[in-house]
């Protein structure tokens, strides 16, 4: 794989650090008026999610990581592995619980998601910002109560539990913001 020199570092670059694929979140040029230059990089470990800062000398180089974000369709899960398909090539990949992470709460069959592949292996899954999921369980609301205020828990078809207004009923289709895991509105 190619090497990048620290003066080529850019936000978003994917590199290998201590054996793990990492993404550069922020790159800063550091140089005192008298003295050598450094490049200070905020990194996110794409396997563990850990974020930290490392400082490089100006001529150090790092190995690039074969990391690609691909749009894929969610097929199903068998409890251990979650299966996705590339709609263009029909190739399938299987991601484990670790790779799927929080996204498991929001996956609905045939939804398009972004799967991050490292050496063609899925290491993380990012759901779309908004998903539409059906309420499978919630206490009955007060009929005609469309006023603000007051909320109750509702279980969605994926098993995720979100807080919803009192007027939401079983069977309602909800729009959920997956970035904050919250109810936005009814979808139908």
């Amino acid at each position: 794989m190619a090497n990048y020199s620290s003066n080529q570092f850019k936000n978003g670059m994917k590199v290998m650090i201590d054996g793990d694929p990492c993404s550069m979140v922020d790159v800063e040029f550091v140089k005192p008026g008298k003295g050598q230059a450094f490049t200070r990089v905020r990194l996110r470990n794409l396997l563990t999610g850990r974020i930290w800062e490392r400082t490089f000398k100006s001529n150090e180089s790092v190995e690039s990581a074969d990391v690609m974000d691909t749009e894929m369709e969610y097929l199903y899960n068998d409890g251990e592995m979650w299966h996705f398909m590339d709609p263009k090539t029909f190739e399938q990949v299987a991601a484990d619980k670790n790779a799927v992470g929080e996204a498991a709460k929001w996956l609905k069959e045939q939804d398009k998601v972004v799967v991050t592949l490292w050496n063609n292996n899925p290491i993380s899954v990012t759901p779309p910002n908004f998903v539409e999921l059906e309420v499978v369980e919630t206490d009955p609301g007060l009929k005609g109560d469309t006023a603000q205020g007051g909320s109750k828990p509702a279980t969605l078809s994926t098993g995720a539990v979100v807080r919803v207004p009192l007027f939401i009923e079983r069977g309602d289709l909800l729009r959920i913001d997956t970035r904050i895991g919250e109810y936005v509105s009814r979808a139908n």
Binding site: E28, F29, K31, K34, G35, Q36, A37, W52, S58, E60
Partner: protein, 322 residues
């Protein structure tokens, strides 16, 4: 067809504020009878500092020919000292300077340095004058003075003058993930400064009395604890390095030794060796008057005065848009 990005990146009100600040600077020096000078941006010689890379320019007497290689100045210091040795008296310059490869939120390869020299001043007197200029542009700023040793001792419990290389490296690695090797004390001291100490320096802070090893061309003296310190100071405002000043060493032989030592270090680091400015040595031999000098980043000064965080707000066209 899409239009090319022709607009300035700095907002026009900021450019107006910048002009007012530059006018204030000129008034400040006019009041003190300091002469404004202009020295060449283009020189046959390059700075010797191994950590500053000069931009190279091809000069030809006919289009397409290359008859000479010249360098864009990274600081007006060499030429201004030649003027001082020629009897100019107190001088200042608002100089455009160039440093290859230096780009970031607070670095532009082309930037403006305010550099001035005062005969008969030592570093302490010059610091007081820098403070006066700062208060003109940023009234109400709080100003503190700290020695390099006080800063390291109070924040890190470390004596920057006497700590061993290993102690400095270990202390630095407590705060900075920098797994590379380096045998230069200055590397670890500078990393501690930039990563750990500078961000905590709120308001204006003058750091003075640097380790002698970090200011080869400043006069030397001993501090209250008998440690050899350099008559060098730096000004930080809200954690941003703004100015660097010295009570200048005037010894021609020492200057010549420094030029040669820098050239050897360049060779050792695999860096280009460019023509050294020997005319500076000749000027010093003729006699540089006792003086103190300081360089201050004008773009950063304007940025700080306007409460901004980046040079893109105060430079009309940054490097990518130039």
């Amino acid at each position: 067809m899409q239009d090319a990005p022709w607009r300035p990146n700095a907002p026009l009100p900021n450019l107006r504020a910048r002009a007012r600040i530059v006018a204030q600077i000129r008034r400040f020096f006019a009041e003190r009878n300091v002469l404004e000078v202009e020295t060449p941006v283009l020189s046959h010689c390059a700075v010797s500092d191994p950590f500053i890379d000069s931009l190279e320019v091809e000069f030809g007497f006919h289009p397409g020919r290359v008859d000479e290689r010249l360098y864009l100045q990274s600081s007006p210091e060499y030429a201004m000292k030649r003027l001082l040795a020629a009897g100019s008296g107190d001088i200042y310059q608002l100089a455009k300077v160039f440093r290859n490869g230096e780009a970031g939120r607070r670095h532009n390869p082309e930037f403006t340095l305010l550099e001035w020299y005062r005969l008969g001043f030592d570093d302490r007197q010059l610091m007081a004058e820098v403070e006066a200029l700062l208060r003109t542009v940023m009234p109400g700023v709080t100003v503190r003075y700290l020695s390099y040793a006080q800063l390291f001792e109070s924040e890190l419990g470390l004596d920057p003058h006497r700590a061993s290389l290993e102690q400095l490296r270990a202390a630095c690695r407590e705060w900075v993930d920098a797994p590379f090797a380096d045998d230069d004390r200055a590397t670890w001291l500078n990393l501690l400064m930039s990563h750990r100490l500078e961000p905590q320096l709120r308001g204006a802070v003058f750091v003075h009395s640097y380790p002698a090893s970090m200011a080869a061309l400043a006069r030397r003296r001993e501090d209250e604890q008998g440690r050899p310190v350099a008559a060098r100071f730096e000004l930080f405002v809200d954690g941003v390095e703004l100015a660097n000043g010295y009570h200048e060493l005037t010894d021609a032989a020492e200057q010549a030794r420094r030029l040669d030592a820098d050239q050897r270090q360049r060779a050792a680091l695999g860096l280009p060796q460019r023509p050294l400015e020997r005319r500076l040595v000749s000027a010093l031999r003729a006699g540089l008057p006792d003086c103190a000098g300081v360089a201050l980043g004008v773009d950063r000064l304007v940025m700080l005065a306007l409460g901004g965080e980046g040079l893109d707000q105060v430079i009309s066209f940054l490097h990518p848009r130039a």
